[in-house]
Symmetry: C2
Subunit: 190 residues, 2 copies
């Protein structure tokens, strides 16, 4: 393995550790030292791999934004809107156990969108357009008569805010059972 590959590996290890901790304790309460200890590695070495703590967060959020984009690309084309959303939630909830990093990434993206988070990371996290594209999906569902009437954008924001809230609850208590995706899709259903 070349040095470059090694370095890439190590960077990934740091990123995954940081992701865990950011979701577990929040960005501000996670100290560089905490990440270094968990990796494990000396504090100073962290800065050999990442310019700063914020840079680390930005890289994570970029990964998250990338993932979100590719996920929402073509997939939602044909199947009914309610099934699509149920499928998405079901998968995300099962990731909570099987592939926590996917789940964590989702939770982090939501957290970084909040005021008070580093501005650059925040912008990237908000650039994914998830709410907007779901609102189109909701419009479609409304025409098909399966979703409630009401401003689709507002419905979409509420839907995702609920999802965010529930995923944070699950992140906080890993023993919590996953809810039935239908419960949350009910928000939209007529």
């Amino acid at each position: 393995m070349t040095r470059k590959e090694q370095k890439e590996e190590r960077r990934k290890a740091i990123l995954m550790t940081a992701l865990d901790l950011f979701v577990e304790k929040g960005y501000y309460d996670t100290k560089i030292t905490d990440i270094a200890t968990a990796v494990p590695m000396s504090t100073g070495l962290m800065f050999h791999y990442f310019e700063s703590k914020e840079e680390l967060l930005i890289e994570l959020v970029k990964m998250g934004a990338e993932g979100t984009k590719s996920a929402s690309a073509g997939d939602m084309a044909d199947i009914p809107a309610d099934l699509f959303l149920k499928g998405f939630l079901g998968q995300m909830f099962s990731y909570a156990k099987e592939q926590p990093w996917v789940f964590n990434m989702f939770v982090l993206m939501g957290q970084v969108r909040r005021k008070g988070m580093p501005e650059e990371a925040r912008k990237i996290a908000m650039s994914t357009g998830t709410v907007e594209s779901t609102s189109m999906l909701i419009s479609k569902g409304q025409k098909d008569g399966i979703f409630k009437d009401g401003d689709p954008l507002l419905l979409s924001r509420c839907f995702w805010a609920s999802v965010q809230g529930i995923m944070e609850e699950m992140a906080m208590d890993r023993t919590m059972a996953a809810p039935d995706p239908e419960w949350i899709v009910s928000i939209l259903r007529k």
Copy 2:
């Protein structure tokens, strides 16, 4: 007005300002100086009124816990569970404009429950038992055939997590329209 009363007034002013800022920017990102500037008052004087920033948070959370207790006391007795919850949400959403502090307090209580927040405040915020008492309400609703089957406690956690998510969204964007409370109660409805 006696000095004691004056002091009490001033403390309240500080508490309300801090509440605004904690919800607006988050606890850690709100500096004592920010609060002092907003009140306004000198930074040093803050410590004449409150021992520490954490003490300030604790006092807020105590107020919130107190309010929660009295709100949930007798009120929920007779009316159907769904109406009770809809009424609660409707009121909370309208407070977002009319009496922001009530709304903010609710949002803060949710935020403080998260890991990484000061431990003492967190304990108090978690002691309110809202989730538990709502789960009883949900059991009742299930018996009456208006709510979904499923673990009432889990339903309650999901319900409140959704509410929390939506309220944080509203707190983040004060121009956001309030959702129809029925949307959220739909999570529970059969």
